[in-house]
Symmetry: C2
Subunit: 494 residues, 2 copies
Amino acid sequence: MKNEKKLTKREENYSKWYNELIIKASLAENAAVRGCMVIKPYGYAIWERVQSLLDEKFKDTGHKNAYFPLFVPKSLFEAEEKNAEGFAKECAVVTHYRLKKDESTKNKLIVDPEAKLEEELIVRPTSEAIIWKTYQNWIKSYRDLPLKINQWANVVRWEMRTRLFLRTAEFLWQEGHTAHATKDEAMEETLLINSIYANFVEQVMGIPVIQGIKTEAEQFAGAEKTYCIEALMQDGKSLQAGTSHFLGQNFSKAFNVKYATKEGGLDFVWATSWGVSTRLMGALVMAHGDDNGLVLPPNIAPFQVVIIPIYKSKEDIEKIEKEVEAIKDIFREHNIRFEYDDRDSFTPGYKFNEYELKGVPIRISIGLRDIEKKGVEIARRDTFEKMFVPKETLLETIKTTLDDIQTKVFEKALNFRNNNITQVENFDDFKEILNTKGGYISAHWDGTRETEETIKKLTKATIRCIPMDVQSEQGKCVYSGNKSTQRVLFAKAY
Amino acid sequence: MKNEKKLTKREENYSKWYNELIIKASLAENAAVRGCMVIKPYGYAIWERVQSLLDEKFKDTGHKNAYFPLFVPKSLFEAEEKNAEGFAKECAVVTHYRLKKDESTKNKLIVDPEAKLEEELIVRPTSEAIIWKTYQNWIKSYRDLPLKINQWANVVRWEMRTRLFLRTAEFLWQEGHTAHATKDEAMEETLLINSIYANFVEQVMGIPVIQGIKTEAEQFAGAEKTYCIEALMQDGKSLQAGTSHFLGQNFSKAFNVKYATKEGGLDFVWATSWGVSTRLMGALVMAHGDDNGLVLPPNIAPFQVVIIPIYKSKEDIEKIEKEVEAIKDIFREHNIRFEYDDRDSFTPGYKFNEYELKGVPIRISIGLRDIEKKGVEIARRDTFEKMFVPKETLLETIKTTLDDIQTKVFEKALNFRNNNITQVENFDDFKEILNTKGGYISAHWDGTRETEETIKKLTKATIRCIPMDVQSEQGKCVYSGNKSTQRVLFAKAY
């Protein structure tokens, strides 16, 4: 059984490399439904780690999970005007609730025209509308606040041009929706979540991010202020990896959600919403992948070590399995996630290639010769280094190597990112850098929507964010020459 | 702050009791979308336990999770004829992919008639069609088998009359879809899953079930054989709590999924599918609930113990919290799930009532007098027994009490179930028992669909299942008087 031909190289065709990698590493594939994807078991196992680790963070900070309906009646959907306008063009709409037999063609079904809904239902592109309609009944008094709810769900945004994980009609995500008595508390929540996202993506997924604020043009439809984490991909484009919105009182006013204050008054509540999605899977591929496939940081890998037996006869494999059992016990005891691949219908070479594509951090191979020498061979996915490790030091070596891979993978991405932030002072340099080097351009901007839009039209670069840690600095807008007080980050983006 | 008026009693109006309990215990509520529900945090926390515990069982038996699209193109949906026919009447159909501004009314949106889909999309009522279309590409050779996949997802079945958890337009479930090289292996899988369901529902949820086989009239549309677990509710009606289907080669033939055998042949694969849903939440309520609210078996309870401080002054609460910290540490160390409710905007009496409604197995209350006496008061939810427990024996008492509640709740339900299986030999007794005592009627049936349908028409009772452990026994059909070789179980059902 031979593997199919090699992966396209990144520098040859980055976008082809990306698609091929996802298919060959068995992460996902295009579904038989236009614009939708099937997340395959290996890809889903990574997503399950994202879910369980983030879920823990949300719960540790006082959030509870709940579940709200998939459908939003049109009249609710349009209640918050800006939000509705922002999503109207990409809504899947349910209009009928029954099929019937097509009398003219055997075994075919048609939509039953008599089963038309009185009011159309929108398949949720995001759940603010249905959730705030629900909060109307849940929030009566200060006793009911803060209300901090999260849901793990599927959402649908009809996209014309789709790409696996990055832009699909249906995707999976979590969406948090909170309500607070004060503006300050809501703002604190918005920032808390943005930092939870940043820490998770950096420490678990090994992807450095820039925390920042979106400009008005780029913020969430219905938000007062959108905070985000932006990550740089290897092709020099930025990817918005998560957003946390301060919604002000927009939704509480649209849905008339007031609470009785401790002092006896009646006030509108303050809101936030925030989410990360299966898009993070795309970031993972593009931040760390190489020409041999995916490279997984150990903290996010479904299994950190794969053990592959090298054998010819039945007697060989029996001897090997005895050794492997001991290794498995040690790994289990020390919470090292592993998989033992003893499929006899695939060669070791095929398996080596498969796990390289899948980015498994460490590969252990063990044959008779290794047993004689009382050890195993280990290979690092990130550096391709191989070494023979004696049994006695195996656990220690695996632990330090996993730690080292986690650190190195992050550092590599961080160096790349830091080397690709360029300060620019005039528009010619701006265009030049954008088209040659790519990455982030740190430049002064006059703060107007016109300038932002013009630059986008001329260069396809958008303001990814106003970084949160940026120093105020007097300067002139890179495009208009007007006064500016701080630099913002421009980039082409996914 | 007073609680709202008492729960309706079961014997007064069972169905009203059920609805009220779900609302008052904050499990779920009707959504602003017709037929859909909002699963509230406490209800969702129970569902999360169902998910994590069942997921572990699936993974331990070699299944992997994946995710398939929400939408099924109509042409795929109709490929397996019986399955399509079975679900056609309850399909939500997406026909458009865009809204636009209604020029005649400010801030209103209408469906854009120009954004009509070429082919309608069905919101999945179950995923066999889309999954078997996908398996076409995944299964080529015996090396790809068995393929054992599960997904946690939402599905939509348009129901005219809905009830929280039992029958809602959208519900949450898991659906397993497996493919096998042989018929025997597929049958083994079908039975394995049915027993996993039975063990889970009995041992974790404390609900006794009968494992059985559905008659042809009652089986899944597209299955060759449907296995099920049936549970008896306190009103004498049966609830189908889970099903596991042997699909034969129906779907592999409909979607042309063949595999190259080891011997060089080409064969259709054998399939199973199986699922449990948020319906289990309804079973939980109706199997154990009493006139004071929910009664949770400790194994499924999101928190097994609630700790409530009884205090008047700030000094009181400080003293109490010192004691409580010690208890919390012990509970954490021994994996006892607990919650400490120190909200100062609610009285202890309000809280007692709230956790009684929520069915929390054990309540601990602790005030200054308890501290003086070096202990706490505990109250069991199932028996309402209260006792004072000294600090030193608290952990031991909690552990044994939780075990005892788990056992007793199951035994109570088992006794009730066993006392409500009545052997009946003629149709007059059949009707009499059904209308007075209710429960299961164990009776001979001649095996024909006609008899089954007639009995249903005359009595509203259906054959819930042919129990798997039933002895073969010569007899005469309770309705037709024709020959029969074994008894089946009839009941009215949810």
